[in-house]
């Protein structure tokens, strides 16, 4: 598989890089290391983000922001007038280049606008991966994760990030709960049990019906039941049955009793019921005694005999209503008629009102008698249920509703008139009713006779048997359906079990294979990271151990040796921050080297700042000699971004001494950022600006001092090894000056041709004394007590040391102070004609 590297990137209008129409172009060493230094705010992280956004389509530092404070529009540079544009050129092992141009719109979206490959996104997908990018925030997290998360992280780091997804997917479909939900396994099993229960009920019903039919089954048997049904139909209905599903039970009866048998049976039953009713009423009428009603007649006649005529009765009724009026009148007026106003109607013995009152008393007596008769009469009607008799006769149309005599007497007649009983002739009515009921009874009897002839006597028994047999057949059919359902459910569950067993086997095999793979890889990573850890920390007393659990994918960071302790302890709580970081980086690098992906680059942002200068150097040496392709064929292309001033010089040194290491410095402002070799003059300008602004210098002055001395050593190719600085951070300047002094004094004593102005031992002592302890004061923020001119004089003094190793070039080729080529005092540029 041909590996892919990043050849170059061109950026304008993205994040902190404006460069309107003049993009920042960075060539990368595809077979080595490209390091880029910038001070804060000079676009270092923008380069990291541009690579990540274009290749992975994500901006880790940006995406982590809370949505309320994130503003996607700031992905594009806010000072850039046009759309942002990023172009990346990739190159593979066979030197085939792939160029992809991206555009960043005002919303911050990244779109591919052109490419030399047909499907650029497919190409990017094949090389993308978070594991290719490492920044400080990410790598310090490596040791803070749980063993489970670390296991997942390892899969990512070694390029198997998709495997845990596959595992999760297979887990998802093999989870019992999901199988039950997706495939209704439980409900199918319940359905089988329910159907089994229902079958038992149906078997009982069939057995009971056979029992009722007088043909009990010894033991329930479906085949025997079907045979018996067929047999019974043959014997009872004289029909041969092939398939019980085809039996038409209604037809069996019709064949015996005719097509209208059901109507006939129904009518016959109706008539029989009706006749029962008629008989009941006939019996009722028989109970009526005429004398009871004649008594009412006599009582009525007697009550009316006190009145001369019917008119008198009406007058009484009228006067009854006049009494309350007379009660309100004077005695005089009580002798007058209130209707015609005729006066003096009274007699000597009685007033007209008293006469009227006597008359009314008689009327009232009549009313009492009439009410008594009415109450007794109604009671008799009720007792004899004559209203029911009348209702029945009327319902059957034998009389009209309005001729219901007893009903009328019971509800409608408020006052019984003198001739009520005479006119209605109760005995006649009762007789009439008897006749009507008798006629109805005879008619019904005749119809019953006809229908009874039509419907044979044994038919009801046959119908009963027919019903029982039909119930048996329905039960058999339902039972067969239930059996089929059980059979189908069992087949379904068998097939489902086949699937479950299959996918369980796949799951187990996949997990085992993945587990074995990760065990192998983690063992390799453990070995390599141990080695890398030692190369960074140079301490044999602390030995890490990366241990994978035998089962599952958990990976533990342990310490197998901690000075005299050889018991395995968790690494995270035991290690100091720098040791933790060294272990994180060792693990990351070991993983990266074990990663067999198409992409063969790693982009590192600010990975050195937590180490002191000695360990930074070891780390850089590790990257150069083991991780990068400079010395390791299986190594990676490294793109390293840093703002760490301490390693800047070392990086410059690598740049000069190794053709596969490029180092750039970023300089510029909000409008434009450029790559530039960082000179001591640049450093001096920065320091001077800080002093003028009154900023805290921190270690800047020391760094500048180191930079100048290392610049002299490097530019004049003075053979002082870099490892001189190891583990003696604060003593670096002293050590360098001592080494420089020794070499210069040796040079002088050798009497070889030398630079005229070389410093003497006294000079070196003076250098130390002049700056000396002041550096510590400045670094401990006590510089506020040192005035700006004094600080500037320190800077100028450091600058003067440098000038001892320079000459002034006035020709057009260089102009200004330039370093000699070496301590022998030869000019750097052979073609320079300046006299020195």
């Amino acid at each position: 598989m041909s590996k892919v590297y990043i050849k170059s990137i061109s950026i304008e209008g993205f994040r902190g890089i404006n460069n309107d129409n003049n993009p920042l172009v960075i060539p990368f060493k595809n077979k080595g290391v490209t390091s880029i230094f910038s001070e804060n705010g000079m676009g270092k992280s923008s380069i990291y983000e541009a690579l990540s956004y274009c290749i992975n389509n994500n901006l880790p530092k940006f995406d982590e922001l809370h949505r309320e404070i994130r503003d996607d529009r700031t992905k594009k540079n806010l000072f850039h007038s046009n759309k942002g544009k990023i172009t990346i050129i990739f190159i593979d092992d066979s030197n085939t280049e792939t160029k992809i141009e991206f555009e960043i719109n005002d919303k911050g979206d990244r779109n591919i606008i052109s490419s030399t490959v047909t499907n650029p996104q497919l190409f990017l997908d094949s090389i993308s991966g978070d594991q290719n990018f490492l920044d400080y925030n990410t790598f310090i997290q490596i040791l803070l994760k749980s063993p489970e998360e670390t296991g997942k992280l390892f899969s990512d780091l070694v390029g198997f990030s998709e495997f845990p997804f596959i595992k999760a997917k297979i887990d998802k479909i093999t989870r019992t709960q999901n199988i039950n939900t997706d495939f209704q396994k439980n409900s199918k099993e319940r359905e089988i049990e329910d159907n089994k229960q229902k079958i038992v009920e149906l078997e009982n019903k069939i057995s009971n019906n056979f029992q009722d039919l007088g043909t009990p089954l010894a033991v329930f048997n479906l085949t025997e039941s079907i045979k018996l049904v067929k047999k019974l139909i043959k014997t009872e209905f004289k029909k041969k049955v092939k398939d019980i599903n085809q039996i038409k039970f209604d037809q069996l009866i019709k064949d015996i009793a005719g097509d209208s048998y059901d109507t006939d049976v129904e009518n016959l039953n109706l008539l029989k019921t009706e006749n029962n009713e008629v008989n009941k009423f006939q019996q009722t009428l028989k109970l009526i005694k005429y004398a009871a009603f004649l008594k009412f007649h006599k009582q009525l006649n007697k009550a009316y005999s006190n009145f001369g005529s019917i008119k008198e009765l009406y007058v009484g009724e009228l006067l009854d209503k006049a009494i309350p009026i007379y009660d309100k009148l004077s005695d005089f007026d009580k002798n007058s008629c209130i209707l015609c106003n005729t006066e003096k109607l009274g007699t000597d013995e009685s007033t007209f009102y008293n006469l009227l009152f006597t008359r009314i008393r008689k009327y009232k007596e009549l009313r009492v008698v009439l009410n008594n008769i009415k109450t007794e009469f109604n009671k008799a009607i009720e007792n004899l249920k004559l209203l029911d008799v009348e209702d029945y006769i009327a319902t059957k149309g034998l009389i009209s509703a309005e001729h219901k005599f007893f009903s009328k007497a019971f509800y409608d007649i408020q006052d019984l008139s003198q001739d009520f009983f005479l006119k209605q002739s109760i005995p006649d009515i009762i007789k009439k009713y008897k006749v009507l009921l008798s006629v109805k009874s005879k008619k019904n009897a005749q119809e019953i006779k006809i229908l009874s002839l039509k419907v044979p006597k044994e038919l009801p028994i046959l119908i009963e048997k027919n019903i029982k047999l039909k119930e048996i057949v329905d039960a058999i059919i339902e039972l067969q359906e239930k059996q089929n359902k059980i059979s189908n459910s069992k087949t379904y569950l068998d097939n489902l079990d086949e699937w479950i067993n299959f996918v369980d086997e796949i799951k187990n095999d996949f997990e085992k294979a993945f587990n074995d793979l990760m065990s192998d890889i983690s063992s390799d990573i453990d070995k390599q990271s141990k080695e890398f850890f030692f190369l960074i920390m140079k301490n044999n007393d602390i030995v890490p151990l990366i241990k994978k659990d035998n089962k599952g994918h958990k990976i533990n960071f342990l310490i197998e040796k901690f000075y005299t302790i050889t018991k395995e302890n968790n690494a995270t709580p035991l290690l100091s921050e720098s040791y933790r970081n060294a272990l994180c980086l060792s693990t990351y690098f070991a993983s990266a080297l074990n990663r067999n992906t198409k992409s063969n680059f790693i982009v590192l942002d600010d990975i050195t700042s937590s180490f002191d200068s000695g360990h930074q150097f070891y780390l850089l040496e590790l990257i150069k000699d083991r991780i990068s392709k400079i010395s390791n064929k299986k190594g990676k292309q490294i793109i390293m971004l840093t703002h760490d001033g301490l390693i800047r010089k070392t990086l410059n040194g690598y740049n000069n001494n190794n053709k596969n290491w490029s180092h750039y410095n970023l300089v510029g402002n909000k409008d434009e950022i450029r790559l530039k070799e960082f000179t001591s003059d640049d450093f001096k300008r920065i320091i001077s600006d800080k002093i003028n602004r009154g900023d805290n210098l921190g270690s800047d002055l020391r760094s500048y001092y180191e930079f100048v001395i290392l610049d002299i050593i490097e530019k004049l190719d003075i053979p002082i090894p870099y490892n001189l600085i190891l583990n003696r951070d604060k003593r670096l300047i002293d050590d360098l000056l001592k080494a420089l002094n020794e070499i210069i004094q040796l040079r002088k004593s050798s009497k070889k041709k030398s630079i005229k102005n070389l410093p003497s031992t006294t000079d070196f002592k003076s250098f130390v004394q002049q700056i000396g302890n002041n550096l510590s004061h400045i670094e401990s923020a006590m510089c506020s007590s040192i005035s700006k001119p004094v600080l500037i004089s320190y800077v100028d003094y450091i600058d003067s040391i440098k000038q001892r190793f320079q000459y002034e070039c006035k020709c057009l080729r260089n102009q200004g102070l330039v370093y000699y080529k070496s301590l022998d005092g030869n000019k750097r540029d052979k073609q320079c004609t300046c006299k020195i």
């Binding site: 390029g159 997917k169 998802k172 999901n178 294979a513 793979l517 992906t597």
Partner: protein, 70 residues
Amino acid sequence: MKKPLNLKFQKTKNSKQNFEIFFNYLKQHKSPYSSILLNALKQNISEEEFREIIKNNVLAYIEKKSSQSK
């Protein structure tokens, strides 16, 4: 007796090559279920979408198989 199939990933191979090993192993099962699983695994979909596809395809296959056996 059916010989169990062996699945072994190789650390010298990348994830794509190891996936091929896994997919070949699945194919060797020569089961209709293996093609259902294989097709679903090859799709770039979420876990839930994967589950849904598996459910639908397995149910369809079981129903088809049941109707054939009647």
